[in-house]
Amino acid sequence: MILPLLIIVPLLTAFLITFIGGKKDTAAVILTLFAVTILLCMSLYSFIITGAQTQTYQMSAWAIPYGISLVLDPLSGFMMVMIAIISFTSALFSIQYIRHLQQDWKYYALFMLLLTGMNGVVMTGDIFNLFVFMEIALFAAFGLVAFGGKAEEYEAAFKYAVMGSVSSTIILFGIAVIYSATSSLTMSVIAQRLPLLDQKMVLWVGGLFMAGFGLKTAAMPFHAWLPDAHSSAPAPISSMLSGVLIKALGVYVLIRFFFNVLGAPRLFLTLFLVLGSISILVGVFLAIGQWDMKRLLAYHSISQIGYILLGLGLASPLAIFGAVFHMFNHALFKSLLFYNAGSVELALGTRNLKHLGNLSRILPVTSGTSMIASLSISGIPPFNGFFSKLVIIIAAIKTGHPVYALVAVVGSLLTLASFMKVQRYGFHGEKIIEKTVNKVGWSMNLAMICLAVLCLVTSALIIPGIREAIMDPVVNVITQKSQYLHVVMGR
């Protein structure tokens, strides 16, 4: 069975690293690269062999109402592939970047724990187990945000940890309410029993989970921690946090819980729409004013998460296809942009856009890939961001929400404006910079090129034949709400 291995491999690697870690980080680097490569192969393999099926695994062979089950359906497999791709490039990027910070193996141990937590969250079928894996991922994330050891980093980590633990407490409260109502923690059993109960219970549970996971997703009223945490972390971790953590812990759980367990109540879909469109506009407005490159990117994460929530709130199959597609695309281009910011910071010692200039001569790979990523996030064809945004906008018009379509278009234009600023000041400015503080090595360049190529290649997911084969099983999991419980229960 491949399911438990996807959790065991990163967890085991984390512990092995702490055992063998000495002064040098060479062993830790080799182990980490080995583990992320294995994870990438395993998750791709499991996504392909799963197809439209669902695999379940009962821990300690306890049957479903009693034990904890792991569930691998197309949506989980899709998330797993996304996590594996970003963590692979992130590990590649880390090699030089973390040596430059003169840190040791502890980074890699925390990195693998972060991966364990995320893989666990997307695979578990038990709601308390989800909480535990979420805490594992968050602990690692708090440690990694504070990793650089500067005052700002401790400050950001403290804010993040306070916000994270408030939201975790709210989620635990929600779990307690669910358990007291349904006497079960297995998601499929909850999905089965909840419709038979008083519908006020759905409101209570939905409200608590919306607040808790909304904080983790950083949708607009809950966004305050995100720009600090994501901009203070080391660059490869910013890309993990912005690229996959807010999706695995936030958006994925919202999808799984509100669509598959609660059956997509109308009220919460409207809430998704409203929060999504507010996030799109306010996030992008706040981003335009920033001069710190990573902070600008962090505000854009809020705005792009808005698109995903908007797509989910529209809830037609086309819109959900757009949301899932955009989630994948955002992971790719936002991680790439954070790598670009990281390599600029490494090479020049600053990431303030006012101090940058024409970098196309000294950092050709960085400025080239940042152009691709900027075009991609602003929605310029033929890059992937264009297609996913287009699908969401078409879906909004088709379902009769022209106002939301307008919001999405305006948000996209403002995104273009703010990335023109990045390109104009950061990479193609007048001031020609000749010398660098550090050289950007091959591993960092390789990570950036990988993602830049993927930004172009994933556009192919829109082509009809490929879309049916890869994306439709994922979308079907979300749109056929009650199917989840029948599949997991084995009926």
């Binding site: 805490e135 940890a161 306070v162 633990s165 408030v166 407490t169 409260f173 307690a176």
Partner: protein, 112 residues
């Protein structure tokens, strides 16, 4: 019903503390209070008046039992809270080392 209400009030006390207090240590304590109230909530809905403890001994026929699962959940959640509190205190100590203050309003080197 009253006991649930009081438990919820405890939760709100913690929440109020997190939002309004300026001292890092008081914020950490408020978070702990929020956590305790949630644990208490888990325990009190598992309690059944006049019920037996959930161990089946020889020769006894048990009718009503206290639900043991939330107690296991609370144990897990206490361990998690211990971890988070330790992490927060460590961060607070480091922050004091950098800023020489515990006042959250003076710890703002990050731009808004």
């Amino acid at each position: 019903m009253t006991i649930y209400l009081m438990c919820f009030i405890l939760f709100l006390v913690g929440f109020y503390g997190v939002i309004t207090k300026r001292d890092l240590v008081k914020i950490i304590l408020s978070l702990a209070i929020m956590g305790y109230s949630t644990n208490l909530f888990l325990i009190i809905f598992a309690y059944r008046t006049g019920a037996h403890y959930p161990i089946l001994e020889k020769g006894t026929s048990v009718t009503a039992m206290v639900d043991p699962l939330p107690q296991a959940l609370v144990l897990t959640s206490i361990v998690i809270e211990l971890g988070i509190t330790a992490l927060l205190v460590a961060l607070a100590v480091r922050l004091y080392g950098k800023y020489k203050t515990f006042d959250i309003t003076k710890i703002r080197r990050l731009l808004g």
